[in-house]
Symmetry: C2
Subunit: 236 residues, 2 copies
DNA sequence: GCAATAGTGTCTCTTAGACAGTATGCG
DNA sequence: CGCATACTGTCTAAGAGACACTATTGC
């Protein structure tokens, strides 16, 4: 039998296959708090619970799982581009009541000032991580957020990735606070600034920001490769 | 409609789903060379070409993609346990002639002295990476090996993971050679030994090995968590 | 002794961490 | 001025990199 004949006779439904989805933890920084985007489910299963944005790969629209994730990010935030990284693929017979289910988990870091939540369609909401009740979410999405958060935390120790969460202009103190929140520990201002400055990841805008006391210089992030690692990681 | 009713009426085949597989790059060290395990395909598609071990997730047998990977590793190497890590999930409409296909890629590090290749069933072979012709492999498996190898290289800069490839007893010079091969650069003996010793990743067995000249002390790996990172990565 | 491989002493350099000190604004 | 926040000077510690040096074997 030739390959051509084989393919003509191949029945893609001969064997049971898992349900196959893409899910995303979209993180943003709102009022000095890390938030994650949630979508309200008004269909079964897990009807009337909050879930991560995501869903089935559309075999007609999507050329790759990344493409599916980008499409969903665009639908929910209006962002055509943002930092997006695959975290892990998680599957089990139990995680979805419909059957054996596999999800490719991504996380995205977005600048909240550039986001426009959809006016129509499903309800979407920014949930502060500090107020999140992981057990209340649909499926195993509480656990997925935890996995994504662990990855972000790990990355924050050896890259400047969290800078993607900042608005166009920001102060180094604000950036340090963000890292401290992600790493859940205090950082030394001097060491942090040396690190960020010597990596040329930011440049002065010339402006400054007064928050009551001494004004802080404003910076913007330079377009440096996000995958360039610091030569030494932070502790923890 | 209740969730129960919804599930009773849910047709898992209502939408097209991707083909969903697990593939593994199993690495071993044979005669000071990195090898990868290949399996001969005697069925379409990609008939009569070499491929990574892998295949469809068995919804009845496998409780997770990891479980599927472990099952396939056991089938091909006889090993019930080995270091196994998920690398990335790769999918596209083109990578498999049968249709939109998604594969969860793992890599495994095995001690070749503990492996027993199956006597019956599909032909399996250890292919030295130096002799591998990536384009000749089935599907995109040449690229998958490259992705897995990049991950292994990255890990070798900040963990002692490659130690999993060594036999029960080995010399530090042999271990250093392994790291040099993976990283494709020479390492300083002093720095390498300091690093390995101070992390308590190995302990002396008491024995020594003569390879012609001065005998080298033999070590065994201690059961340290493979995910403990060195406080500083190696360059490159 | 010589060759070859195993293993060490010691120096430099970079950078995180610590912490006290200075700078600049407002009331 | 006092106080709060922004930012710096300077020291220490750890560990990688470099490289010359010593150690132990067979012949």
């Amino acid at each position: 039998m030739s390959e051509k004949e084989f393919l003509e006779n191949y029945d893609i439904h001969e064997f049971d296959v898992p349900l196959c989805t893409v899910d995303m933890a979209v993180f943003s920084l709102i009022e000095n708090q890390l938030n994650v985007l949630l979508v309200y489910r008004d269909e079964h299963p897990c009807k009337e619970r909050w879930a991560l944005p995501g869903g089935f790969i559309d075999l007609n629209k999507d050329k790759s799982p990344e493409a599916a994730a980008h499409r969903k990010l665009k639908e929910k935030t209006g962002l055509g581009s943002a930092y997006l990284e695959q975290v892990e693929t998680i599957g089990s017979p139990k995680r979805d009541a419909r059957g054996w289910s596999l999800t490719v988990l991504y996380y995205a870091l977005v600048d909240i000032t550039r986001v426009t939540l959809p006016k129509v369609g499903k309800k979407t909401v920014w949930m502060p991580l500090s107020e999140l009740k992981p057990r209340s979410l649909a499926f195993d999405h509480g656990k997925l957020i935890d996995v994504a958060m662990k990855r972000l935390r790990s990355k924050a120790t050896y890259t400047a990735l969290p800078i993607e969460l900042m608005p166009a202009e920001f102060t180094l103190t604000e950036l340090q606070h963000l890292f401290e929140m992600i790493l859940a520990r205090d950082l030394q201002a001097k060491a942090f600034r040396n690190r960020v400055m010597s990596a040329n990841m930011v440049e002065e805008t010339g402006g400054s920001k007064i928050s009551g006391k001494r004004p802080a210089k404003l910076y913007r992030s330079t377009k440096v490769d996000r995958d360039t690692y610091f030569s030494r990681p932070l502790q923890s």
